[in-house]
Amino acid sequence: MAAAFLTFRAAGERFAVPIERVREAARARRIVPLPGAPSAYAGVAIVRGEPLGVLDLGRVAAARGPLPEPGRSVLVVLRGEARALLVDRVDGVERLDVAAEEGQTGWRRSGPGDARGPLSLIDLDALFAGEEGQLGKR
């Protein structure tokens, strides 16, 4: 079954999230570190007047992958979430066959890769559940 995804890169990896979970991709003017947030959070950015918690996808992914690239600066703003993902760059919108995702667990699920390399589908709910699970210790 093919569906539309926004694809982007972080920490040298390719990722995708379902397009209906994305409100917009925006350039972050300023991200201010947020006291008490887990280290994976880059801080708070204001987009269209609304403060968003910014999760640094590179920092989350790099725990298991290559080091993040410098100059990351695009926010993938999630719909109805007050949260955004900080990524290196946005590739575009692609139709992907996601049947292979079934049965996988965790936030990073292997998706249909191509000549550009492998692609991970992000389960946003699992991603945030994992991050906030560490919140207890400040």
Partner: protein, 659 residues
Amino acid sequence: MSRDGRRLLTEFVAEAQGILEEATGTLETLESAGPDAPPELVNAFFRSVHSLKGLASMVGLARLAEAAHDVETLLDGVRMGRVPLDHETVGVLVDAFAQLSELVARVVAGEKDPAAPDGLRSALAAAQEPRAHGPKAAAEVVLPKDLEGLLTDYERHRVQENVRKGRRVLVLPLELPFETFDDGLRAGMAEAAQLGELIGTFPGASSDPERMAFQLLVGAPPEVDLQEAARRCGAARCVVVEPETAPPAATRVPHPPAEGAGAAPPELFAGTVRVPLEKISTLLDLAGEAAVSSRALRGVLEMALLRTADRGVRFEVLRACSEVERAVSAFGRAALATRLVPLDPIGLRLARTARSIASALGKEIDFSIVGGDTEVDKVLADRLSDPLLHLVRNAVDHGIEAPDERQAMGKPRAGTIRLEAAARGRDVVVRLSDDGRGVDRSAIVARARQKGLLGADEPDPSDPLALVFRAGFSTASTVSELSGRGVGLDVVRTNILAAKGSVSVRSEPGRGTQFEIVVPLTLALVESVLVRAGGRYFAFPASSVVRTFDAPPERSAPGAGLPLVPLDRLLGLPEEESAEGGAVVVAEEGSRRVGFLVSEIEGMLDVVVKPLGAAVPRALEITGTAELPDGDIAFTLDTGRLLDRLDEPGWGGTWPRPS
């Protein structure tokens, strides 16, 4: 029931209770005004019941909606002159109204769709039957043709009523220039209302394409000076509409109201729109953002203009920039004004409560309201309501003496309770005073010792009255039903603090007591003390900041008793070594007071606080963000939670001393 359904029902109950309270006030006035009650009063009551009907059907309370519809039908008869507003009608309305209130109470108690007793409908119908001494038939009035077609049934009825009462019906034609017609019309209407009753405002025909024509229809006393009336309203002339001499046949049977006839004609609602508070908040947010952007724009332009040699261009750009800033600031003030409501409705509710408590206790009171038109943020008005109710109950229950006791003391038998409200700068001051027995200071001190609020060896405090706000304090020697149990003035103080306000009390034995409540005009803009700590900006609500000072060189508290806590360490931020030693913000909440060490105090600033979503993980002490004029972000702090944090293990007991 779904969550939305429950939410709707909660909103319904809150709204319905508000409407019922407002309508009770109107009904009381209607009752005392009798048959010659001004038409606006009947209209106000009609509107209340109409809103209740709409609300009830919106949340699926069909039977309540039906009962309200029946009441509305009777009221429509009254407004249209079909039903006289006599003792009988008022009696039926009072009963019907009590039953509507009862229905709402049953909804509150959890009933799904309670039905009114069977008798209600027939009583309302009976009240609409023609009376033996019905209203006198009036002479028909012949209106100018161009006006005749424009009148609603209600306006026509008002014309007849004016004629019946021997008043003169006047038509005042206005021709106003296009650019300023709204001001001219408003002024004309205000003057016309002074003449007598402004029955309606209608479009007219203008011969001048640059002007707009209107006609004011006015009912005025017979002795009115026509020329003077025209001059005052800005009309070219004043036309008197004469009634026909022959009375019409008295057989005009009133039409039974058709289904849906109870719906208020649109003109009753003209000029008012109900808007959810979030929409207004969005408007305020946008105003705040526009202000931030326009300041940023000025900064950039000023830099760019340094390189411009052309002085004419520089002048024009900066002038245009100032105009934008002025417009943005006016926009902000206008947006803010939409949140403000007058305190009158609260005052009237308090007056009613006070009267009913007084009559239950066999006391007499005069309740006066001064400055009821003072406006305050809707959210604050709601939050003030409970504390004031509590104070009023106390005043009637404990303050005002019994009539005989008062008389023996040479006071008037009726006690006076006075509610005063006034704007003071950015605050609203509300005073509630009574001329009752006042507060016995020595009894308070004794009570505080008995309750353990004051140690046996502690000296008497300099201001014993402040003790009444402490938790666990209650002066009434017998706990009365009215004042409730265990809920004292400490709750009043807590509620007012929650509204970012303060409360104080003054009292003179035998002369009375006065409570003074000060709250900010609005919660939309928060006056804040902006500081830097750990490399970030933070905003303390100014209401919680007692003072600020430069940190002493050894960074320890001057004198005893004031603990100093580094804000960066408390929030788990990298600690900054400030060469200058930084500054101290002394913040307090309740009885707790702490000095927070920060690296710098930036100053005072009004900020628009944007709450951070619950999903964004953070220190609990951070409530939201505020965008600063230069585009930077400050985190807004909850002082109470900061102080709570100090009670946690690690901080608790031993106040941290910087090493």
